[in-house]
């Protein structure tokens, strides 16, 4: 008997046929990617470096997302955490919060993942080139913005001043430790960091991310990227208003529940926008009238 699905509800009036004769491209068919390296910066997060199994480069823009999954477990949307300028590999960071992420975080180098994408709209680099850039990243908000940070560092001459604010809950929650060490001493990025709560070994700033604003002068023409927990946006945008940054120059990277990643399933909607296809990067001007955005 041919069947349409495997849900076990047999009284369905309409069960079309199926059997594997594929009638065209299937948006839901994933590609295999091999895990090259795994790091565990915190107890909750694992950082994977991947390559497509067919060894072709993944063609993406900073800020785009992937649906990453395992058959039998499901898929989760993740921002690409590396820049396309970095060789033929790409990075993702997975936080163990649900059934899919927990399964992924058990994988080891050599294992495979299934990905779909890149999906959605990333950072409009044409808007950023020739300008100063400020990235404000809170918590795991550093993961998707790292794709832009790396890009700017790799093509530094295309941009003016580059400032990076990073806030973590505490020193144990900091991600990309090697990057942080590099940025702290770097002359190509003005890096500022803070933690909400310090520990005995912490000598840096303590406080929410907005305490970093008085530490550096941000030019009014700067393009700003904000990514972090929902609560952070409101306060950061208030600071940016004080600096006279126009809403068109503020870009936010949003997160929502997502199932399909291709603008159909409806879960990621904020008002009439789909985070997966209209975003995940939006200009603040674009979303400030959307009550459900921030």
């Amino acid at each position: 008997m041919k069947r349409h699905c495997s849900c076990g509800v047999s009284s369905m009036a309409v069960h079309g046929e199926s059997g594997g004769r594929d009638a065209g491209a299937n948006l839901f068919l994933p590609r295999k990617a091999v895990i090259l390296r795994v790091e565990q910066p915190t107890t909750m997060e694992r950082h994977f470096t991947l390559r497509l199994a067919d060894e072709t480069p993944l063609d993406f823009e900073p800020g785009q997302i992937l649906e990453v999954g395992l058959m039998g477990y499901g898929e989760i949307p993740l921002g690409l955490a590396s820049s396309p300028t970095r060789r033929n590999t790409f990075d993702i960071v997975v936080r163990s919060v649900g059934r899919v992420s927990q399964a992924i975080n058990r994988l080891q180098p050599g294992d495979s993942l299934l990905i779909r994408g890149p999906l959605g709209k990333g950072f409009d680099l044409a808007m950023f080139r020739g300008h100063s850039v400020l990235v404000v990243a809170g918590g795991i908000g550093l993961c998707p913005t790292r794709s832009l940070i790396q890009y700017i560092l790799d093509r530094r001459e295309e941009f003016q001043r580059f400032t990076l604010f990073y806030g973590a809950r505490d020193p144990q929650q900091q991600l990309f430790l090697k990057d942080l060490a590099e940025w702290r001493g770097s002359k190509t990025v003005e890096y500022f960091e803070t933690v909400d709560k310090g520990d005995p070994g912490w000598r840096g700033n303590v406080g929410v991310i907005t305490i970093l604003f008085p530490k550096v002068k941000i030019d009014p023409g700067t393009k700003v990227v904000v990514c972090g927990p929902p609560i952070m946006f409101k306060f950061v945008i208030r600071e940016l208003a004080k600096l006279g940054i126009p809403h068109e120059d503020i870009f936010v990277d949003l997160e929502r529940r997502m199932k399909c990643g291709v603008g159909k399933c409806g879960h990621c909607q904020i008002n009439d926008k789909y985070v997966c296809t209209d975003g995940p990067v939006f200009s603040f001007a674009e979303i400030k009238t959307l009550e459900e955005a921030l």
Binding site: C5, G16, V97, C260, G266, N271
Partner: protein, 344 residues
């Protein structure tokens, strides 16, 4: 294409040959109500139906549908359209199919839907009975149905069959059709016009006015809270809606524990889980936490958000949501009236 006529007494023969030749899906009775189902016996076809419990989109977008199947490391798609004739679809459902056609095809075509859709033939039919909650006579008048392959209208002594596409004309050979006379066409036109005035409910406002005011009412949380006070968050209004197309995706293993499928299920934005994300350690965040927020999202989606894309509201006036809502709070006519009155 062209317009045809078939006698009442030849119509039964046509149906007999049709169900033998093709995979036919049409309205049939179920416990005093109607559903679209496989028609194997022409007597089961109830063209006098008022409305079906679920809309006919289930023929292309089944309530659960495997998207990808796996067996060990092997992963394969399962797009495999089946030829089917949807016979007796009312014009409001054709309009809704036009909308889902557009929404599944835009920004990345979802072949899991469109392949099924393209393989189907849709024969629309005139409305012979009007359901108690219908308001298709007054909503979205700016949008005409266009996705059907033929339109069948019951007139005196027979049916007018207006073929619009080669798929619609392909059915002609199965019956004793002749070219329709001008008087028959006029009778069909009049019948289809007349029935639109018979809806028990009427939306008294124009789409543009509704879209604007309903959107502007977003911040009125008291209003949405009041409208949704009795809401069960059961999603029935979504699940019976012909223009809703949200879905959940779940993976599962077959009992062999090595093969399985990734399957999509019709989902409902009125349910509390719909916008919930897990934050780990038992914590979660719900982007539409309250009944009011979810209720509002549905109304805005039907009356405002998609209007530009669709050329009118994402509501066709079938009244299914009103009938399916156990608390009887989902009726768009009543809800929109309340929102409009609150706004003025």
């Amino acid at each position: 294409m062209s317009d045809y006529f078939i006698n009442e007494k030849d119509f039964g023969d046509f149906l007999k040959r049709l169900v033998r030749a093709r995979n036919v899906l049409g309205p049939k009775a179920k416990r005093g109500h109607f559903v679209f189902g496989r028609i194997e016996n022409p007597e089961d076809l109830r063209l006098d139906y008022d409305v079906t419990i679920l809309p006919p989109k289930k023929a292309f977008f089944p309530t659960c549908q495997d998207l990808v199947r796996f067996d060990g490391d092997q992963v394969s798609g399962c797009i495999d359209p089946v030829d089917q004739v949807l016979f007796g679809v009312h014009f409001y459902d054709v309009k809704a199919i036009d909308m889902t056609d557009l929404l599944f095809a835009e920004r990345g075509e979802d072949r899991n839907y469109t392949a099924n859709r393209q393989a189907a033939t849709i024969v629309a039919s005139s409305i012979q009975s009007v359901s108690p909650r219908a308001f298709w006579g007054s909503v979205g008048k700016e949008v005409e149905p266009k996705g059907h392959d033929a339109f069948l209208t019951k007139v005196a002594r027979g049916y007018v069959y207006q073929s619009r596409t080669p798929k619609g004309s392909a059915l002609l050979e199965l019956g004793k059709f002749r070219k329709a006379e001008a008087t028959e066409l006029e009778a069909a036109r009049k019948a289809d016009e007349a029935v639109k005035k018979k809806c028990p409910e009427t939306l008294k406002y124009g789409a543009a006015e509704v879209a604007k005011k309903v959107r502007a009412a977003f911040p009125d949380e008291k209003l949405w809270e009041r409208l949704s006070e009795r809401c069960f968050s059961c999603g029935s209004c979504n699940l019976v809606c012909p223009t809703c197309y949200c879905f959940d995706v779940q993976d599962h293993w077959n009992v062999d524990q090595r093969s399985g499928a990734r399957t999509r299920y019709w989902d409902a934005c009125l349910t509390s889980e719909f916008s919930k994300v897990s934050l780990g350690a038992g914590n979660s965040e719900n982007f539409r936490e309250s009944r009011g927020e979810r209720f509002r999202h549905r109304i805005l989606r039907k009356a405002s958000y998609l209007n530009e894309k669709l050329g009118g509201p994402a509501c066709v006036g079938c009244g299914r949501c009103a009938a399916a809502c156990t608390a009887d709070i989902a009726d768009p006519v009543k809800t929109i009236r309340e929102v409009m009155e609150a706004a003025s």
